[in-house]
Structure formats: structure tokens, C-alpha cells
Amino acid sequence: MTQGQYVAAVYGVVFVVVLAYVAIIAAKLARLQHETTELLELARRREQPARSREAVIREAPGEV
């Protein structure tokens, strides 16, 4: 290997490592986004029956 190739290898290694790190962080961010969506759906599902119950109470207070 020539000296120029060693220099290219050094800068290439740094670039690849930083790129791999960014890819890992991006994958983690995607997983967190997915989890946030799941939790949001879970919270909405929990909220819906409570809201319907409140609506029933408001419409017919003596029956429930």
C-alpha cells in the first residue's frame, strides 16, 4: 500500500464509523417513533370507553 492509500484508509474508516453510528441512531429513532405511535393508540383506546361512559352519564344521568 502507498502512503496515500493509508491516508485514504484512515479518513475512510472514520467516515464509515460515523456513518454506521448515524445509521444505528436512525434505526433507534424509528423504533422509538413506532413505540410512541403504539402507546398513543393504547392511550386513545383507553380514553374512548371513558369518554363514551361520560357521554352516557351526561345523556341519562339517572339510569347509570
Binding site: 496515500g4 491516508v7 484512515v10 479518513y11 464509523v17 441512531i25 422509538l32 402507546l39
Partner: protein, 209 residues
Amino acid sequence: MGLAILLALFVAPEDADQGVSQRIFYIHVPIALTAYFCFGLGAWKALLLLWRGDERYDLESYVAIHHGTIFGVLTLVTGSLWAKASWGVWWLWSENQLVLFLVLFLFYCAYFMLRFSLEEGPRRARSSAVYALFGVALIPVSFLAIRLAEDFIHPTVFTRDGPQMTATMFTAFCVTWAAVTLLAYVLYRVELAGKRLDADLRELREALQ
């Protein structure tokens, strides 16, 4: 970072002694300094954890040491490639600077073994903090080893008379150092935010289920 690479590879003049392989200096030294800085930051956060008892410093210390290890790997790889280009060998066990950096790096690798062998909680945070603080003693030893050694082939660029290079070379070095430090800071903030978000989501999931 682009400007730093441009300055290091194309603008800075070629070194009369080492030739083109000296251009590795502009990336290798800032990465090594950043690794030292990250380990130092990890130790500082560990000290704050032990001092104030605030558990958020545990995560900050862990992330800083994690980055120090990543930059440590890069220091060893780029240094090894530079050694091969300049000295004709990948590694020299007789060089104090190299061996002490390897000891520092392995010490912080063992930090992860300790951390993940304990259950999450205040005990793990305190044990990890004490370990991180012990490691910080190795940083000045590793940093000064090159100056303390009497027989060395590892170059000394920064002496008491100032940097032994031209103004263009020094500018390229400073810009690269600033760029690498900025990169490390951004990665630190991003990873810290990700880890905190992860912990918050876990707590939220437990609360909802």
C-alpha cells in the same frame, strides 16, 4: 467537517519529513483528544452523581464514556494505520504512549462489563461512577507519557515553544479539532436524548398497561 477535511487533505502543505502520511495527524490527534475529553466528561458526571446524588448524571456519564470508547477505537485504528504508513509496523509494544492509551481504552471497556453485570438502580449507578472516577487518573498519565518517555519515535508536535508546524497546518489542525469536538457533542446530545426518551416511553408503557 467538510471544511476540516478539505483543509487537512488539500490545503495544508505536505510535511517535509513524513510526506503525505502526515495528513493522518489532522484527524488522528483531534479524535484522540476527543476520546480523552469524553472519558474526562464521563468522570466529571460520575463525580456529580456521587456528590449531588442526582441520578440523571448516571446516564450522562454512561453516554460520555460510550462516546469515549467509540473515539478510542477510532484513535487506535487511525493510529495503527499511521504507524504502518510511517514506521512500517501496525503496533509497537515498546511505545509508552500507545500502550497507555490501550490500557485506558481497555479500562473503560471493562466499565461496560461492570455496568451490565449489575441490576439497574442506585447501586449500579454508584458502582459505575466510582469506576469511572478511577479511570480518570489514567488520562494525564496517558497524555503525558509521550513527554515522559526518553526514547520514543511517536512524534511530539506541541512543545513548550508552541506548535511545531506552519500556520496553515495549525489552522487545519484547529478546524479539524473543532469539527470533531462538535461532532462528538452532537452525537452525545442525540444519544442522550434517545436514551431519555427510551426510558420515558418505558415508564409510560408500564403506566398504561
